[in-house]
């Protein structure tokens, strides 16, 4: 079951009911945008994240990750577990710029 071939065999991206549903609340990204991204060739969580910013907002994907992964999986007609996920990088929580500026300086 080659997901790449399946996508290419389909017609150009077709809107479906429910495409206007917001999935990533922090960045206001809709289901339709995610589906279109998959059709544009984004097949992993990393790619969709970098393409759309889904998962890059304040909650860092804590709310939307599973939802995004399900949409990618449904679009590729594979199981959720088969969709490669993002590698978490520091910082896992938002950090004030001032904290980074202070990093490495001596505490007064």
């Amino acid at each position: 079951m080659d997901s790449k071939i399946r996508i290419e065999e389909q017609d150009s991206f077709l809107s479906k009911p429910g495409d206007d549903l917001i999935i990533c609340r922090c960045e206001e990204i809709t289901k339709g945008e995610i589906r279109r991204a998959v059709h544009d060739g984004m097949r992993t969580m990393n790619e969709v994240k970098r393409y759309l910013r889904a998962g890059m907002g304040l909650c860092q994907g804590q709310t939307c990750s599973k939802l995004v992964r399900d949409i990618i999986a449904a679009e590729l007609q594979i199981r959720r577990e088969e969709v490669a996920i993002t590698l978490p990088r520091s910082p896992v929580r938002p950090v004030p710029m001032g904290a980074y500026a202070n990093d490495g300086t001596v505490r007064k």
Partner: protein, 529 residues
Amino acid sequence: MKRYEVIVIGAGPAGLSAAIEAASHGMKVVVYDENDRPGGQLFKQIHKFFGSREHKAMQRGFRIGEDLLAEADRLGVSVELNSTVMGFFGNKEVTVLQGDRIEHVRGNYIIIATGASENALAFPGWTLPGVVGAGAAQTLMNIHGVRPGKKILMVGSGNVGVVVGYQLIQAGCELVGVVDAAPRISGYGVHAAKIARTGVPFYLSHTIKEALGKDKVEAVVIAAVDERWQVIEGSKKTIEADTVCLAVGLSPMAQLAKMAGCEMQDIPARGGLIPIHKEDRETSVPGIFVAGDVAGIEEASSAMIQGRIAGATIARDQGYLPEDLYQDRFQYYKNSLSQIHQGMFGPDRKGKLDIMETDEGCPLCESLLTQGYLADVGLQFYPGIPGEERRRKGIVAVVECTQNIPCDPCQDACPKGCIIVDGSIAHIPTFTEKEPCTGCGLCVSACPGQAIFLVDETFAPGEATVTIPYEMEPTPEPGYRGLALDRSGSVLGEAEILSVRKSKAMDKTVLLTMKVPLEWSMKARYFRV
């Protein structure tokens, strides 16, 4: 860079237990927690815990939290709050955000006990104000004293859904229903029963289609689904509500473990991506341990034991705990964990829809599984429910516990030894009078599931009394006339309160005794003020 023997990430039940265990053997431990108060999810758990005495059964969650903090403090564990571990690097170095500074610290051992986060469910209208996670609603209510809303629909019938659902009622909210797409209630039957007897409907095999409203939730649309989760035509139902609580599962917050290079495995039954670990809680990276929900969604009792195992293993590895003593401890904890894994809701049986009987061979009550209440017929199958012959002799305890869950405080509570949970703590309690039941009611208040009642069919000709556990405000006074409800929450009729018993031993569970017509003795199970 600061260096510690043991760094624990997360001051919840798992993290604190791990810290306490390691510190009890002489190790120097620091615990970091991103919140401004420790205890993880414990402090909002206002209900009595299940399990056995060793699992802190009958204690309310927040009390367990207080005890853990006191013990950690006594052992010299350093708990640093408002301290967010934001990065995990090679050589077991972590970066901790504290205010406007980043601390770089290294540990000989690191225990990741970061817990889990709530899952979201996307449906039209889910971004309207009023759609909240059940856990968030619980924090709002129980920590901050704020009602999440007035009319609440609970989505999800797992333990989080039914426990929080009951607490919403306690807080004075109206729970308009509990919805679940599955055909069976996935939380404990006793939790569902507490809700059903107040009149809350369960909508199994239903899903939420939409939340309606302009600037906030004003109504919800639910619909029935078939076995393939497809909406059944014409089954839509609109219910007035201002809040939707989502109790649709938890996902481990295992990002730090992945960042640390731990080997991960995606196991849907455990909540998603979890760090692979041995029985002694060590991950694939030597020196990095995991405990609690981060390693697989269970609950607080498991989290505490897992934390203990991690702490003990580290103490042994570093030479603080001799091998033979470690083995004793490990076996004790392992046995403790296996006890709470037993029963119908254990990690290996959860979600199995084909379970039709209890371990003892009693039939599982269908209406309890699909509507949240025990049917009037078929009560004779359960060994905790005395039959007509015994009931005609005098006051008696009626133990309406009909599913295998790991729990046995009823056994310890009865001073006459009338209630037996034989063999495994997951066995259904049996009512066997070693000495005659005196109607003291200690079992009624002890049962964390509020599933035990006192029934006296000999009160007066044609009249009986029913004593129920009551945890609502306001508490009625003797003489008050209210309504007696049956297990399904249907009104039976008027009933008078004869007595209201409170005592320190009962820990805020009030015993309400109501006078009812004899025919209601095995029906009346709730009192509406």
